[in-house]
């Protein structure tokens, strides 16, 4: 039990004792003695030793007891036993605190039993309470007054002008407003004064205690808001000015912050709408330590929600909500040069919020806010904002808002002042925000349909596109870069116009931006462009009936693609451009424009030279070779004149591979070129050169035989067996069952000699599968296929 508990215990004991005596006297009808005990009991509230919290407990206990007295008096009064001069009698109490509590109690009994003196008693009570200037005691005393008068404050229209108010002793709404405003003002002064009490080292504790007590002050405002006859007019004319005057003049940040917040929360939104200017003007006059931003934001958020509410009437047209806020906010900013920049920006954030919620169609409003913000920065010569700072965070928040709200990057693009504002952020801030915008666009599949917009977007997100003067000197983490550029690449696919010419312009524009991205970025950003270009070429081809220049355009597109791929080559990539060339060749092959054979040949030959010049890793060589041959096998556009050298080149290249297994596989693959490749020479039919096929296969067997590693060798044989079977089934007469038998027996034999390892396991499974296939064919020969007579499994 700490000191406070002990003190409270002691006081409570005294209170209970006196309360008991009081009730006993009242029961016996000895009012005067009862009052004396009540006065003694109330004397406990004179203490200076209790903390606000403890004092509150004591106060509550005493209030409970006072209710007995009140009930007794009301009862007596109603029975007609009016005690003459009771109002005067209680004022003989020598100490002011007990005296005023009694006076309030008795005064309220008078009012409750007889309306006619209501106004005068209320006036008297609120005035007499001035006698208690001790903050804590005064606050509670006035709170008691407020509590007691809760249900009896006059709430009826004022008498018509020209009437003597004395004729209306029960009072009217003006009296109630005056009463509460006065009580409020006095309580606020007491509350403010608390901070000057005691030692300065206890300041923090006092602030805390003041926070605990603020509700006492706020109750006045609640009471005002509960009066039915406080309508918009009255609120505008007397209530709000009264509160604001007190709030502004007290010059206490804690109080001002609380009161302004209280006003916003306590009174209805309809009132706020009608008094915006007055309220905001007052905000500009608040103490410099007051967080005005929070107050205004709170109001804006409330009104924004109000506008959004379904049951509400929305914002009346005559109230230019945004203009008023915009105007007043800039006043506030002007009047508070000490306000942190981040708070200024926070205000702008809430303005944007307001504009977006209340006026979803008015993009200019949002742009106006951006402009104002930009001007504020320019005025202060701020040209770089650290993104990690509070200001940077706020600015980022401001910039993210339109994206979040519209979920449409195109709308954001319409904000003229957006990009300049964005550019104030430092590199990492810009990059994060750009990523955010791009993600938003990708998530919402926002297509960018014109060249201009593409230009604007790419300028806006320049930090993702190309090197920045302020970027860090160290290279970014490759994985991060891959992720970031990967996202960008996804975004590039959204650069889409329905108009093909436009689409071409889009691509060239994008190419211009992306081309500046440097070697590391182009790896990610150029391929999408190339693919987009190929798609566009197909589109022109599909539309060839409507556009007689389509051929030239397609040619241009492939030129564009060629250049783009070449840019990748220049950036010292090989495998990627090789594949892009091959992809291009495939596309060109299918689009029948003038000269397309030449172009396709160029693409193929580019792929070849990349293979020859740039690819040195044997695995990569095999993979590239396989791709080249695959692509070549798919094309049909070449005349023999072009087909033959390419074919030969492939075979040559395959046999020149470094490792024997690679050679074997390359040559095996090459065999298909002599079988299923089509060209103009064959009238786009398959070549089916049985002899050359067999030569290739035999060469592969020969090479396989040279392999030293038995398991690799057997693997090759199994693969070769499959190719033999393939060609046999396709009807290559040069391939015979005897060849198959020979291969099968060799493989079986060798496999038996091998140790069982994981590799051999796989090989034997491959073989088993192959043999099962043959078994099936043997049992049920297909109607059109060759028969396997003589096959020995």
């Amino acid at each position: 039990m700490d000191e406070q508990d002990k003190l409270l215990d002691e006081a409570m004991g005294a209170v209970r004792g006196q309360a008991f005596q009081m009730k006993r006297c009242l029961d016996k009808g000895r009012l005067m003695d009862g009052l004396k005990h009540a006065s003694n009991m109330l004397g406990e509230l004179r203490t200076s030793l209790l903390s606000p919290k403890t004092y509150y407990e004591l106060y509550m206990c005493i209030c409970d007891e006072l209710r007995h007295l009140e009930m007794y008096l009301i009862d007596e009064f109603q029975k007609g036993h009016r005690v003459a001069d009771l109002y005067e009698l209680v004022q003989y109490a020598g100490n002011i605190v007990p005296r005023l509590y009694l006076l309030i109690t008795v005064g309220l009994v008078y009012i409750k039993t007889n309306e006619t003196c209501k106004r005068d008693i209320l006036k008297d009570l609120v005035e007499m309470c001035r006698g208690v200037q001790h903050p804590l005691r005064g606050l509670f005393l006035r709170n008691y007054l407020l509590q007691c008068s809760r249900n009896i404050l006059p709430d009826m229209e004022d008498p018509p002008v020209g009437h003597n108010p004395e004729e209306f002793p029960a009072g009217s709404i003006s009296d109630s407003v005056d009463f509460i405003l006065m009580n409020f003002a006095e309580m606020n002064k007491l509350w403010v004064r608390m901070q000057h009490q005691g030692h300065s080292r206890d300041k923090e504790k006092r602030e805390r205690e003041r926070q605990e007590l603020r509700i006492l002050v706020g109750t006045n405002l609640v009471r005002l808001s509960q009066l039915e006859h406080v309508d918009v007019e009255r609120y505008k004319k007397s209530v709000l000015p009264g509160i604001l005057e007190q709030a502004v003049s007290c010059r206490d940040p804690l109080s001002q912050e609380y009161l302004m917040e209280c006003i916003i929360q306590v009174f209805p939104d309809e009132f706020h709408l009608q008094t915006l200017s007055a309220f905001l003007k007052a905000c500009a006059e608040l103490h410099s330590e007051v967080n005005v931003k929070n107050i205004i934001i709170s109001l804006i958020d409330r009104l924004a929600n109000f506008a959004h509410r379904e049951d509400g009437t929305g914002i009346p047209d005559e109230i230019k909500l945004f203009e008023i806020f915009s105007e007043q906010v800039s006043q506030v900013i002007k009047s508070r040069p000490d306000m942190p920049m981040e708070d200024t920006v926070s205000l702008q954030v809430s303005l944007v919020n307001l504009a977006q919620k209340c006026y979803p169609d008015e993009i200019e409003y949002v742009d106006k806010v951006m402009q104002n913000t930009l001007e504020v920065f320019q005025k202060l010569n701020i040209d770089k904002i650290h993104s990690g700072s509070a200001l940077g965070k706020e600015l980022s928040r401001l910039l993210r808002l339109p994206a979040d709200n519209y979920n449409n990057l195109l709308t954001v693009l319409q904000l003229q002042y957006y990009t300049p504002l964005l550019n104030l952020l430092d590199y990492s801030g810009r990059k994060i925000l750009s990523t955010y915008l791009v993600t938003n666009a990708v998530d919402n599949e926002t297509c960018i349909p014109t060249q201009e917009q593409v230009d604007a977007v790419l300028s806006m997100i320049a930090s993702l596109i190309c090197d920045q003067s302020d970027q860090p000197l160290v290279d970014p983490d490759p994985e991060d870069l891959a992720e970031e550029q990967g996202l960008l690449a996804r975004f590039l696919h959204l650069f889409k116009s329905t108009n093909s010419d436009q689409q071409y312009l889009i691509l060239t524009t994008a190419r211009k931006h992306l081309g500046a991205g440097g070697n590391k970025r182009v790896l990610y950003t150029l391929p999408p462009l190339v693919f987009q270009a190929y798609q566009l070429a197909f589109k022109y081809y599909a539309e060839r009936e409507e556009d007689d220049k389509w051929g030239k355009k397609v040619h241009k597109i492939f030129q564009f693609s060629h250049q783009t791929i070449t840019a990748l080559v220049k950036a010292e990539y090989a495998e990627l451009p090789l594949r892009l060339f091959l992809q291009g060749a495939l596309a060109i092959d299918k689009i029948d424009f003038e000269n397309h054979e030449t172009v396709a040949y160029e693409f193929m030959s580019q792929a070849f030279s990349l293979y020859e010049d740039e690819i040195s890793d044997s695995k990569a060589q095999l993979a590239a070779m396989t791709l080249i041959m695959g692509t070549f096998q798919q094309t049909t556009c070449f005349s023999e004149e072009n087909h033959e050298p390419l074919r030969t080149q492939c075979a040559l290249a395959a046999s020149k591979l470094l490792k024997k297994p690679d050679q074997a596989r390359g040559v095996t693959t090459c065999s298909h070129l002599f079988w299923s490749a089509r060209s103009l020479a064959t009238n786009k039919e398959e070549l089916r050169d049985e002899k050359r096929v067999l030569e290739c296969l035999k060469k592969a067997v020969r090479i396989a035989n040279q392999c030293m590693d038995p398991s690799a060798q057997i693997q090759l044989f199994v693969e070769l067996l499959n190719h033999y079977i393939y060609f046999y089934e396709k009807g290559n007469t040069q391939v015979t069952v005897a060849m198959l038998n020979q291969l099968i027996s060799k493989v079986k034999e060798d496999l038996a000699n091998l140790e069982t390892t994981e590799d051999t396991d796989q090989i034997s499974r491959h073989l088993t599968n192959t043999l099962t296939h043959l078994q099936l064919r043997l049992q049920e020969p297909p109607s059109d296929g060759p028969n396997y007579e003589g096959l020995q499994l």
Binding site: L89, Y92, C117
Partner: protein
């Protein structure tokens, strides 16, 4: 009277005319008890019957005459032997002779002048009585009966408010106003205190009604101060700009009209003492004399009217009333750029330099010798204003509704909480026109010489 064994041979009874309807009033007797007496006013006839009844029926009573006197006299307690009669009327009831049976004699003092009010104080009393004397050779048979006289006054023609600005240079500056200078005994003092400058930590403020009884003259003047009422009017420390209401009902206190130089023997004057107490228990005060007078029949007005009248009275006060202005200073703040704003008070703007009547404080004496001034954990309410219940001696006056709730303290003035903390008020610069109670106290306490000297601020 029967120490010779003779015994009183007859009883004398005085029966006043209309005694069943005559009002009665209380008066303290010399030993402090309160007695009830029949009440008369100036110019009223005093008439009645004197009954002389013989103890033993059938015996005889020889006498040298029977007379009745109406006496008004002043008794100074330090001069017991000398009573100063300012009125003495005699009526002869019977010529010398013999009473053989009970006799009854009518008497009347027609429209008798009663110039002064009955009074019973510390050193003096003024009483009226009837005395019946059966003159005898050895020992007269005497019977006295006290009467009470109230002097009624009409409304004073001039009744200005009391308004004053007082202060201690650079520490405290207040302006106060009481709505009148003359109050009737059931009146209400309505007033206001306006704080112009507060740089001391005020704990509370109270108003005391002090009665000063002056007896004797010249070098043999005796002053007796008595605090009739002590009434807290403010709790806590105000800041600049606050105005605190004062409202003191006088009806509940034991007051008499102001008496000035009654028959050149004594005076009874009343002062309102405004006392500010700071956190170190230093007291700052300012006394103002008020005149009390007795009004005729007291008519109760309904509460609403009373309130109206009081509110009206408050509004009449000419003090600054800038409640809406937020006070800019706090009790121990820095000097403010103080701009006096006193619209209606007239020509003299109140600035510290022009203060009419500076208040002064004395440094506490002997603080170390009295460590018990430390704040106690819980002050019983009684320690400031002991609510001693009044003797329940007035059941007959129920309709007068004399408040019994907290009766005014009757302690002598030297028993205030910490007498050594008492502070004087100095009339800096100008010799005082009105004799201040404070000066007397200063004289009583020579040790105050160690205290800081009053600083003259106004020239």
């Amino acid at each position: 009277m029967s120490f010779f064994g003779f015994g009183q041979s007859a009883d004398i009874e005085i029966q006043l005319d209309g005694s069943d309807t005559r009002k009665m009033a209380e008066m303290k007797t010399e030993d402090g008890k309160k007695e009830r007496y029949y009440l008369y006013y100036d110019g009223e006839s005093v008439s009645g019957k004197v009954n002389v009844s013989l103890k033993k029926p059938g015996s005889r009573l020889e006498h040298q005459g029977i007379k009745i006197e109406f006496v008004g006299q002043i008794e100074l307690y330090y001069d017991r032997g000398n009573h100063h009669e300012f009125t003495s009327l005699v009526k002869e009831l019977a010529r010398p002779g013999e009473l053989t049976q009970n006799g009854s004699f009518e008497f009347e003092f027609n429209q008798v002048e009663k110039p002064y009010e009955s009074y019973s104080g510390t050193n003096v009393r003024l009483r009226y009585f009837l005395r019946v004397t059966v003159v005898r050779r050895l020992s007269d048979i005497v019977r006295e009966m006290d009467l009470l006289v109230h002097t009624l006054s009409s409304y004073p023609e001039m009744n200005n408010s009391i308004k004053m600005e007082v202060g201690i240079e650079d520490c405290l500056h207040i302006e106060f106003e009481y709505n009148k200078s003359k109050y009737h005994l059931k009146d209400v003092i309505v007033g206001k205190i306006y704080f112009l400058l507060v740089r001391i930590k005020i704990k509370h403020m109270e108003i005391a009604i002090i009665k000063r009884e002056t007896t004797g003259s010249g070098p043999n003047t005796f002053n007796e101060n008595e605090t009739i009422a002590k009434y807290e009017i403010m709790d806590g420390a105000p800041v600049r700009g606050e105005s605190i209401p004062i409202r003191v009902f006088l009806a509940g206190y034991d007051l008499t009209p102001t008496m000035r130089d009654i028959n050149k023997k004594f005076s009874v004057r009343y002062y309102l003492n405004l006392v500010l107490v700071d956190e170190e228990e230093r007291r700052y005060f300012k006394q103002q004399e008020i005149t009390l007078w007795r009004k005729g029949e007291r008519l109760r007005r309904p509460l609403q009217q009373q309130l109206l009248a009081q509110q009206h009275a408050l509004q009449q006060l000419h003090l600054n009333n800038q409640q809406s202005k937020f006070p800019q200073s706090h009790p121990h703040g820095q000097p403010q750029e103080y701009v006096p704003q006193m619209p209606s008070t007239g020509a003299e703007p109140p600035s510290p330099q022009q203060s009419q009547s500076p208040m002064h404080e004395e440094a506490p004496e002997k603080v170390e010798s009295n460590p018990s001034i430390q704040p106690q954990s819980r002050q019983p309410a009684a320690s400031v204003t002991p609510p001693q219940p009044q003797p329940e001696a007035e059941p007959a006056e129920e309709e007068e509704t004399t408040p019994k709730l907290p009766s005014p303290p009757t302690e002598p003035p030297n028993s205030i909480d910490s007498p050594e903390e008492e502070f004087l008020e100095a009339q800096a610069g100008s010799p005082s026109e009105d004799d201040d109670v404070g000066e007397e106290e200063e004289a009583v306490k020579p040790s105050s010489a160690v205290s800081q000297e009053p600083v003259p601020v106004a020239q």
